[in-house]
């Protein structure tokens, strides 16, 4: 927009049209309060996408400072520019301007946790050498004060060559306005002169710069000298000519002697950091608070490990106990809705479509929203409070026995909610072998989509008897969770012994302090999860329910209809009163069953049933299982639709309908061995297109997803086969 064209528009239009004038990268250590600050600055004006070629999420938001709007990019947490994991590499590549199709940011907002200046300042020094304007946000100043740390932010700014240092409390919003103004200043004012941190490095890189094209900036040469095995180092060596590698090597020897460059860099920068900390930070003796003493107690080996099991037990108890009232409400509401629609519409295809297809199908999945949200709530809180990292530390020894490290625990616990974020969480695992073994173990963890299947079958077929102080249903569910864990770990062990054989993984992990999770951050994540679930219910599951309904409803057989009308007339002629009513209901049910059996779904089910007959499944279950390969929770929707169309439709809920399902010879379809087999099948099988897709992206190929699918499906089939055959005989 040129300055001459003055057109008057209303204020709300401006904010829509105004394009961000500059882009600022938000960079910081993991757990530095970076994302909380980002959410505070951008509010709901966020977009989430992916970086090209990888599944690392890219969070972009806009913040307004007066007339200026700035684009903020929230980068994955990083400790240093020398990337150790995939997430760190992405973050480093963004600030170095090495991401294809993405402009280098115009400035950097370095987020430093005031209680963790030590590692924070290390990164700040590296960032300041990148020839971009940098400013610092000092987060968690409230926590610093309560733990007796005082930071002189003016003195810090001075030590950093006069760049802006803004203390903020992201959780309350204190200091945010000043930070925003400073952000605008960062872009608009001239770049401050950066103090010379490392003279020898500058001299050597300047010498090299004279021989290189002007397009290679100084900071790239410096990083190439330090990160000797990076892609950047190879590029710079290429520019230097055939002897580029040797030239760089000679320069490194001059700079670092026989010391590894990284070690030299760490020694040098941390010496500076310690000096700065001496100047700007004053620590008063810390008074032992109740929480810190509790933290100390949980740090001891045995209380810590017992604590971990107690926490996990509470989570799974809550998922079942707390969700029940809400689930009953939703269940009642869908049943009522179905009845109301059925009563107000004429009998026929439309009524059947709405009640049996849409309401019964989608409703049977929506019911599980409370359970899934409670589960996600716990996982998010555990992660946000820093507890998951502690779990990784406590479980490292156990994980070592299956050839993994404690770092694999975090993806696995996340997978109890959903394997997709779980698999993405493996990106912090540095070794590729460990990472793939963890990726293949993760889908075995009982995810929230398995929960509806388990909950339905357990509620319907496992008696709610007390065994000691526990409930039999609870024990079965616990057993299924254990089955998932054991199968996952056994798979990892098997892979580490064969295809992924390699050196023992190392383990180094920063343990964040325990802290109260931020309500806003937790709620935003939870809301995001609820939206994903509802979107799935509204699109994929709705579509499957509709298709399954159509397959189960059509074609309508004229013969069956005529036979039904004939028997109704016969009954009316010979019977009267109650016995007539009973006969008419029986004829209706028989008609529905006959129509279903000759429907497309019935024919398809009968075609595949020989494969599943050894597992004790009839054609309805076989069809439902096949339909649920793209998303396992679909089986509940399909069963909901199939049994609403069929002769069990009289019963009010799906549970009751399943219970009254009979084989032609009158025996119950859902016998205990068959149900146990079905549960084992669902515990093992990889029925999730989203997981397959994420495995393909994270492992860069089809080899591992195909292996995982085949392996898990075979395991599920064999498990169900053994359970049924063993139980029957």
């Amino acid at each position: 927009m040129s300055k001459e064209s003055v057109t008057r528009v209303s204020a709300d239009q401006i904010s829509v049209r105004r394009r961000p004038s500059a882009s600022i990268a938000v960079v910081g250590n993991p757990n530095s309060g970076k994302s909380t600050l980002f959410n505070r600055l951008t509010g709901m004006r966020q977009k989430t996408g992916n970086y090209p070629g990888v599944t690392v999420e890219k969070h972009v938001g806009v913040t307004h400072v007066g007339e200026t709007s700035l684009e903020l990019v929230d980068l994955p947490g990083m400790f240093a520019l020398s990337a150790h994991s995939l997430e760190e590499r992405i973050a480093a590549d963004v600030v170095l301007g090495r991401i294809p199709d993405m402009d280098r940011p115009d400035g950097i907002l370095a987020v430093v946790d005031s209680t963790h200046l030590y590692q924070g300042l290390y990164l700040v020094q590296q960032l300041m050498e990148l020839d971009l304007p940098v400013m610092v946000a000092l987060t968690m100043t409230d926590a610093a004060v309560s733990s007796g740390i005082h930071i002189d932010s003016d003195a810090l700014a001075l030590r950093l060559g006069g760049i802006k240092v803004c203390p903020v409390i992201a959780t309350t919003g204190e200091g945010i306005d000043e930070l925003k103004v400073a952000l605008r200043g960062l872009i608009e004012s001239d770049k401050p002169v950066v103090p010379e941190f490392w003279e020898e490095l500058s001299t050597v890189s300047e010498e090299l710069a004279r021989e290189l094209p002007a397009t290679v900036p100084r900071f790239e040469i410096e990083r190439a000298l330090i990160d000797h095995d990076s892609a950047l180092a190879q590029e710079v060596a290429g520019y230097l000519g055939d002897d580029g590698e040797e030239r760089l090597k000679a320069c490194r020897e001059r700079l670092f002697g026989s010391d590894p460059p990284l070690a030299n860099e760490a020694r040098r920068r941390y010496t500076w950091v310690r000096g700065v900390m001496n100047d700007v930070q004053h620590a008063a003796p810390v008074i032992a608070t109740w929480t810190s003493r509790f933290g100390q107690f949980l740090n001891r080996p045995i209380p810590g490990t017992i604590g971990l099991f107690v926490v996990m037990a509470i989570v799974f108890q809550a998922v079942f106990a707390w969700a029940t009232p809400l689930m009953d409400t939703i269940d009642g509401a869908t049943a009522t809705l179905g009845t109301v629609v059925a009563d107000n519409l004429p009998d026929g295809a439309l009524a059947s479509f709405i009640t049996d297809g849409a309401i019964a199908g989608v409703g049977s999945v929506i019911v599980f929203l409370p359970q899934i949200l409670i589960l996600f709530l716990f996982i998010i809180v555990l992660e946000d409070s820093g507890y998951l990292a502690r779990a990784a530390y406590l479980m490292d020894r156990t994980m070592r026995s299956v050839g993994l490290s404690g770092q694999s625990i975090i993806p696995m616990i996340s997978s109890f909610a959903c394997a997709v974020p779980g698999i993405m969480a493996t990106r912090v695992i540095p070794s590729r072998r460990d990472r793939i073994a963890t990726i293949l173990a993760a889908p075995f963890m009982t995810c929230s989509a398995r929960l509806p299947v388990y909950a339905l079958l357990i509620a319907a077929f496992v008696p709610a008897r007390s065994v000691g102080f526990m409930n039999l249903q609870g024990i079965v569910l616990f057993g299924l969770y254990m089955l998932g864990i054991v199968a996952g770990l056994a798979t990892a062990l098997m892979l580490r012994k064969t295809a992924l054989h390699g050196p023992k993984p190392t383990f180094a992990l920063m343990l964040p302090e325990f802290r109260r999770p931020n309500l806003r951050t937790v709620m935003m994540q939870l809301l995001g999860r609820a939206m994903i679930f509802l979107k799935r219910a509204g699109t994929v599951i709705f579509a499957v329910a509709v298709v399954v309904w159509a397959l189960a409803y059509y074609p309508r057989s004229e013969e069956v209809h005529i036979a039904s009308v004939a028997s109704q007339e016969r009954a009316a002629a010979t019977l009267s009163g109650e016995s007539l009513d009973a006969a008419l209901v029986r004829i209706d049910n028989e008609t529905a069953a006959a129509q279903l059996e000759q429907s497309w779904l019935g024919r398809a089910g009968k075609f595949v049933v020989p494969v599943f007959e050894p597992l004790g499944w009839d054609w309805k279950i076989s069809a439902a299982v096949i339909a649920s390969f793209p998303a396992r929770e679909v089986v509940v929707a399909v069963l909901g639709t199939v049994y609403a169309v069929g002769d069990e439709a009289d019963e009010a809920t799906l549970t009751e309908r399943l219970n009254s399902a009979r084989h032609p010879d009158g025996t119950p379809v859902y016998s205990l061995p068959m149900v146990i087999g079905l549960l084992i099948f669902y515990a093992c099988c990889l029925q999730c297109a989203a997981t397959i897709a994420v495995i393909r992206r994270e492992t860069n190929g089809w080899r591992w997803p195909i292996f995982a699918w085949t392996y898990m499906t075979t395991l599920g089939y064999l498990g169900a086969l053994i359970a049924y055959q063993f139980g029957v005989s």
Partner: protein, 78 residues
């Protein structure tokens, strides 16, 4: 004396590192360098891995990695 043999409740200073192993270099990037004051905070069940504190940061590593770091008791240690 190495990082693998600290007593709880006492402070130590790192005074020598064998930095040839890339995993050790990573630990140095995380802050375990000569001159860093460290304390043993806890051990997991079975005595491994170990949790150390340095300047308010908690870091956890295994015994075998901790052996690469030589330490001496801090002068002002209580």
């Amino acid at each position: 004396m190495t990082l693998a043999s600290l007593q709880r409740g006492r402070k130590y200073v790192i005074n020598g590192i064998d930095a040839t192993d890339p995993d050790v270099q990573r630990l140095m990037v995380l802050g375990l360098v000569e001159g860093t004051e460290v304390e043993l905070a806890s051990t997991a069940i079975g005595g491994d891995p170990l949790e150390f504190r340095m300047f308010g940061n908690a870091i956890s590593l295994r015994r075998e990695q901790a052996r690469h770091f030589a330490v001496s008791p801090a002068e002002k240690g209580e």
